[in-house]
Symmetry: C2
Amino acid sequence: MQCYYNLKKVGTGHCTKVPRNSNLEKLRSGYLFPEISRHESEHLRKNPDASLIRLGIGDTTQPIPDTITLAMAEQVRGLSTIQGYRGYGAEQGNMALRKAIAGKFYQDMGIKANEIFVSDGAQCDISRLQMLLGSNVTVAVQDPSFPAYIDSSVVVGQAGELEEETGKYGNIIYMNCGPENDFFPDLSTIPRTDIIFLCSPNNPTGHAASWQQLKQLVEFAKANGSIIVHDSAYAAYIRDGSPRSIFAIPGAKEVAIEISSFSKFAGFTGVRLGWTVVPEELLYSNGFPIIKDFNRIVCTCFNGASNIAQAGGLACLSTDGYQDLCKVIDYNMENAKILVDGFTSLGWKVYGGKNAPFIWVHFPGMSSWNVFAEILKKTNIVTIPGRGFGPAGEEYIRVSAFGRRQNILEALKRLNSFL
Amino acid sequence: MQCYYNLKKVGTGHCTKVPRNSNLEKLRSGYLFPEISRHESEHLRKNPDASLIRLGIGDTTQPIPDTITLAMAEQVRGLSTIQGYRGYGAEQGNMALRKAIAGKFYQDMGIKANEIFVSDGAQCDISRLQMLLGSNVTVAVQDPSFPAYIDSSVVVGQAGELEEETGKYGNIIYMNCGPENDFFPDLSTIPRTDIIFLCSPNNPTGHAASWQQLKQLVEFAKANGSIIVHDSAYAAYIRDGSPRSIFAIPGAKEVAIEISSFSKFAGFTGVRLGWTVVPEELLYSNGFPIIKDFNRIVCTCFNGASNIAQAGGLACLSTDGYQDLCKVIDYNMENAKILVDGFTSLGWKVYGGKNAPFIWVHFPGMSSWNVFAEILKKTNIVTIPGRGFGPAGEEYIRVSAFGRRQNILEALKRLNSFL
């Protein structure tokens, strides 16, 4: 048998008879962030001497405080001793860490340690959650939003067909978030869905939902029998007193799951550690507790986060570790302020940057991929085109405030002469 | 609205309107290994002074060689420096590690570094692979087998209904593996399926497929247009020259994916590191390369293994690290021999233990859960009932050879007075 793809002979001539998953056929070709990396590499290939400044992928750059890496190194070295060796841990995470997370981030919110599931990161837990939910639920997402929500929704078969004209999937409700509605969905226009993804502080717009906004959302979910999946990966960056957890809102335990992460809070993007909160009060329509299914998925499809990363997580929540991390967060937020002030003084309308390490810059009437490409070409600065986060991201670019100070200042200098 | 489950009022009275995923309703209540842990805890609760010997969950117990933890500790401490800090790595893993895996495990098999995807463990990759395949494929599994294949198959909706009488899912082909067929499926009796899961050395039977057996399987898959998912997590334990990779068989690159792990090879059960090989030659029926979809899943649903674990993996494959690990593996295989000899001298028929750290003991006519419970009650030794690995595991228990020598010897002493 000869094997062809798009009329071209492929491989050695043998095709299996296994059909491609039709859900994957509906996915756009590449996940956003690797696509950006590809553009970056391509630019460097053409301009090998370019001094690139990366304000694209929101990757952390500041060293992890000693307190934390010392704790991890001690855990690592212990693995070479009979006393310190540990094999499999609990799939749900070490109880000491689960307790520390409950104590540090959910004090007075009634979240118990057994409702906290330690993970290898928020992105991974989004997919595990989608496996749990399956194809037979309806979802709403903010537009623009972190692309993993929609992409994982496509993978498990919730999304329907991609409509080329609008760039939207037919079965997904896109909740427009722009300056006209303070970057928060106008719930009076949103139909009921089973699941509502909400990211606050939002990636990419940088908007942190206010008490009032989250309260409305919880009421909306309760009235509709919906589940909110609240992504609080950037909560540590909130400065203005907005809630850092959906569970700060009374009644949220009956309607919400929260996914969070050490990545941006502790510079653990490469170390890999996060958590998900599934309250015992959260029930399917048939009354079955969702926490039981999530636990089953965690045990079946995951095997716990690295015990080294977990030791690091525990050190992050110690008094010293936490204080040290707050300084790193302050540093990144000073970067954000410099970027906000810089773009503003260049005459551009800027959002975000006050409660999140992302700046959302408006280029009215322009294509975001063109703006991205021009900035890369002319200034060797990598940003992210807003369109990559959804149709409503057109005309915007996202600029990350993670970076070393001299690079942030240099970036502004270059933009100054270009924009 | 009041909320009820099985006629009992649940929660605070609010149910969402989100339906439970019907696939999850088909799953048995608990994943095998946590269930065993539950039995273990229950036994300890009733017998707080019991001196438990754990030969159940195949968890590693020997310290990791210094060479390897020193490399990880260096990586960790580097994260506190400007020079050594690393954020996100490539989702597919560090290229140096991918190259080292290709060089150490796939030499002369034509596997390239870009076909190797580093993961946080085999169990996690099984689920990611299932997300990729989706609900519309047919699968065959060995009976008995590692439970994650069937459970993940149920989660994504491939399995059909559980038939209580047989304990089998209606849409899964169970390939019987017992002494009568040398613990390898009689392929002449197996109908075509899209996917064939094969674990070699097998967990739980300990059987390593021979060159002849794997050759037959590759031919069978090629003739049928099937994909073999070969789990080689225990390959490092093979002593008799049987192939350690499916890719040692000519033609396998067109029909197979291999999932493997540092867990049992390097004592990384808690550190979390594994890999999956997806050859470029492996194509769907429409000619599209499967490696492209797997890459998309890895980028969308995963974010790379911990960079600390990856530094450890690289050290495992260094000359010194590898030599040190071989000694640990030898130690475990001496345990296996002691267990095989011990059970045999007690008059029981024993399989496995020659190419794998598992002993598969036959108790003709007896219920495996009863044997498990009796052994736990009378000797304080935890094993695993064969039935937990599938219907064909009835009458067997699996005994793990991971353990400290004095515990293995003590276990035999206790069994001697009991059996």
